[in-house]
Symmetry: C2
Amino acid sequence: MASIKDVAAEAGVSVATVSRVLNDHPSVSADARTRVLAAVEALGYRPNAVARSLRTDQTRTLGLVISDVLNPYFTELARSVEEEARALGYSVIIGNADERPELQDHHVRTLLDRRIDGLLVSPTDGGSPLMLDAVRAGTPMVFVDRWIPGVDVPVVRADGRAAVRDLVAHLHGLGHRRLAIIAGPAATTTGSERVEAFRDAMAECGLPLPDAYIGQGDFQADSGRRVTEGFLELAEPPEVVFAADNLMALGALDAVRARGLRIPDDIALAAFDDIRWFVHTDPPITAIAQPTGELGRAAVRALVDRIEGRPPQSVTLPARLVVRRSCGESAPQEPSPATNRRQP
Amino acid sequence: MASIKDVAAEAGVSVATVSRVLNDHPSVSADARTRVLAAVEALGYRPNAVARSLRTDQTRTLGLVISDVLNPYFTELARSVEEEARALGYSVIIGNADERPELQDHHVRTLLDRRIDGLLVSPTDGGSPLMLDAVRAGTPMVFVDRWIPGVDVPVVRADGRAAVRDLVAHLHGLGHRRLAIIAGPAATTTGSERVEAFRDAMAECGLPLPDAYIGQGDFQADSGRRVTEGFLELAEPPEVVFAADNLMALGALDAVRARGLRIPDDIALAAFDDIRWFVHTDPPITAIAQPTGELGRAAVRALVDRIEGRPPQSVTLPARLVVRRSCGESAPQEPSPATNRRQP
DNA sequence: CCTCCTCGTGGAATCGATTACACGGAGGAT
DNA sequence: ATCCTCCGTGTAATCGATTCCACGAGGAGG
């Protein structure tokens, strides 16, 4: 592969001049510029990003460590992150932690070794020493979706409290009294926050929330299934199951189906995170929708601000309730197919 | 951030010795080794992968350019690719082409600039000059899922012909005669192959396939919707719609639903690519399942073989028909919930 | 005509690693 | 005692860029 030296030789100038042309530095004669450009063209030369990074100490690359690529929520997040990053001239390297702290650490380490310019993380746990060290060492970082309390890092996330309150009120209005939740890992902020919001909302409605109605999941489908089976075996099973993410809702669906029960007649179901398939499940699932794309874009903007020396800003956007039929009657018709990919 | 020089100074040895310890080169005294290791620990030193790559001319990184991250099929593929690559000591950088050739080229270029050791591609189109150049220049490359005919690059893919034949036979057995297909872009191999397989299978069953029953989609949900609307407006609409990928099936579902029609009573639906949600849609969707994880793993193995100087092998695995209820009666019960994440 | 700037250019240092080569000392063979 | 091997180690070249600094030419101003 041709290097800058080859280009210099071909154009009959020094490597310094070639470099100047490539980085359009002002003081290059028109003559030299055209000769260099011709040589670049002739040799099919492309600058070596590795060498450039070594010298300039910047990679124009962002790392994104997400908890689970198979979760459509994170996939969408990843997509919007890459899109915005590209618009700002950065590449993104995605690491999939698969909800496993040690895998998360592996990716953080690898990304740091590659000297990425900044890190976007949706932490799987309460904070690995590695990540804390990285923050202390000054690595530009932004948390997205989930965060680690007590760490001075901007957070870009959705606030679901109001939407959870709306959901509980909606369920209450439908006559449901025994509501259960499949919680996410307490070590994640989204895991604990959603339970808390649910608990508060229940209290507001004057509904009891026995411990047996709080199932411990791990944001994966299997746990949703397991917890739901547990609920169904209770002497007094809940009337509604609220899954704290879409995958656990999928698991719950599996469990209900395996029992031969019907939704919403035998048991109702709602989920945190709205995904396109919820429109087409049997029945369509009531969910809390996050402004996922906007979160990803805002996170990138915050991180790039931090990298380029501007003060980064934390962002909190509201989530909203989307009522469908999985919790009982009185659901409005979906206004239009929710298939539009790029939403404003 | 500490460099190898700092470690050398701290340990009282030369950088060469530090490097030797780090790459466990044999000729280093036990004493020097412990002193270096202690220094590494004390300084929290991590080798700079950028510098190392520049010197050794290898990044231990693979590029993966897929057509659409939002497509669960590709997400799963990406996941298995990353998993296998990690097991072999490589990282993966994913580029999302979003079914747009120019975006695909952007990613290929960026990955090449970063001097990735090899490229895994599922081409969006019939072959950009850029990619052809890269192959000619000797970049290790492997096509996965889709490929470019006439290019000497190993291909790892699933063969759906038998499964499509099974599907058509199944539909025929159910009494359906008017079958339509939502095809993918003809520029992609999967796009044209699936139509061809369908056409052949129809011929085998002695069924006609009028042009009006071949709708042109682009593997995105919107096109599935649009094409399905077209089908429904025909004087004689098809009895079955077969979508060549899962997203177009989603779009078809939208269209059917918007019309207030019922599946399978008013119209039947089948899809290429099986995804977890198809179990829970209304009704569960008959689909052709690919051994996605195995494809990803085989592709990585082939690419790494090529990179490390072993002869790479093309791999073709069979896809299989999974019958559910979206095409009519006589569907067997799903044996067990299809929620298990890691399938053998 | 001399001095001073400005401009375009090239030489060379530098980033942080790896590695070929040289070198000194220890130990074995003669 | 001399020579030859190894072994452990350090010096320095190298990868491909960027960029500081110096230098020569040419124009402006005195």
